[in-house]
Symmetry: C2
Subunit: 211 residues, 2 copies
DNA sequence: TGGGAAGTTGAGGCCTGCCTCAAGTCGCTA
DNA sequence: TAGCGACTTGAGGCAGGCCTCAACTTCCCA
């Protein structure tokens, strides 16, 4: 355990995280660090003292969102209806994406490399697997999709949310409903192409792959 | 009509467009202009002589793609099956998105402001409307979707293509198949949220909206 | 073929954002 | 309350990308 920060240092840290949370949510993860510092009422040097780089700041800001996402998955699994549970989780994640440009970038795999990365999703991987399996066993989710296909929902949403956040902030629900209808059993026909392997999914979701 | 360029100037212009086409396709629309000039074997000044800015260069590079997209829509309308026609068009656009990062950015509304913009889609707007209407009249496309909902396919695809182009270059077909299954009649239930109005769609698709 | 218009060049100014570090300030504990 | 060490500060160096312009070269037509 690291030794506790001095009182003023802790206060500045909190101000920085709060400022970053707001700016990331509104404008995405690329806001200039100098602007975050200014907005927190602190010098840029202080920001660099506290966080080696953008990745660590992003990590600090979104730690609670990772937890919230996990909680969402637990709620989903506790729901009586298997399909309803799956929908609850996906709607919840999409709502977070819609409410926060930074979360949206992170969830769709475009965070700074040292950030929580795919953690938001990797976090509850087996939780998620159980949700998917359960929905397939109940006959509501088409049997030919896999856990890995669920990222299509997150990826599919990412751009819609960006494009319509200011114009029709609730429109994403329509897009999601259409997507979910595609996941319903019975499958109208077989799917082309095999799903991503878990390893491919991991690579596809981690930002900035090597050339 | 502008007067024809001098022979060497025309040659340089062609080299620039060719270089830009290649770099845009591989790396997206943000490649440094200096790199395009270098790759064309021409100085940066020449690039600026020929094209006032990135937007005009993008316009010159993608003019033929706009035409190709229109041709695709015409083919679609000429096909005997209404649903097959719709699928032909959407698959074609998605294939172009998958093959060319620049087209992908442009089609999903993230081009430089003065570029062909939504033209790729606006281009064949009534062509598209006829394709959609026909598929609904034949009872294959669910009746509660509108022309404006078709951008969900393009937007939905944009991020999937980016994330998987190098890892599983054919995977997008699986995502598209799932999406299309959501568009099939009969609708499993009503959709939440009204669709975008044409005006909203126009705004959502044009890049860099004002604050 | 000679001269002028059209075209080319690339160094350099500008801007934005990243990151550092020497000097100064402040909080905590003895 | 003195003093040490933790913390803050912000000017400034660096890098990348945009764009300009004065000097130079090339083409084309009279």
């Amino acid at each position: 355990m690291a030794k506790p920060l001095r009182k003023d240092a802790q206060r500045n840290r909190d101000l920085l995280v709060a400022a970053a949370r707001e700016l990331f949510a509104e404008r995405g993860l690329d806001v200039p660090l100098e602007e975050i510092a200014r907005c927190a009422g602190v010098s840029i040097g202080t920001l660099y003292n506290r966080f080696p780089g953008r990745g660590e700041l992003v990590g600090a800001v979104f730690a609670d969102r990772v937890a919230a996402t996990r909680a969402l998955a637990e709620e989903a699994l506790a729901m009586p209806g298997a399909w309803d549970g799956l929908v609850h989780l996906l709607e919840g994640v999409c709502a977070l994406q819609a409410a926060d440009l930074g979360y949206n970038a992170l969830a769709s795999g475009r965070g700074p490399s040292s950030a929580v990365s795919g953690e938001i999703l990797a976090e509850g991987r087996d939780l998620m697997r159980r949700i998917v399996t359960r929905a397939q066993e109940s006959g509501e989710l088409r049997p030919d999709v896999t856990l890995e296909d669920m990222v299509f929902v997150i990826w599919g949403h990412a751009r819609t949310v960006e494009a319509t956040a200011e114009i029709a902030p609730r429109l994403w629900r329509r897009h999601l409903a259409l997507l979910l209808d595609g996941f319903r059993a019975p499958a109208p026909g077989p799917l082309p192409e095999p799903p991503l392997t878990p390893e491919q999914a991991r690579r596809a979701m981690s930002p900035h792959r090597p050339p």
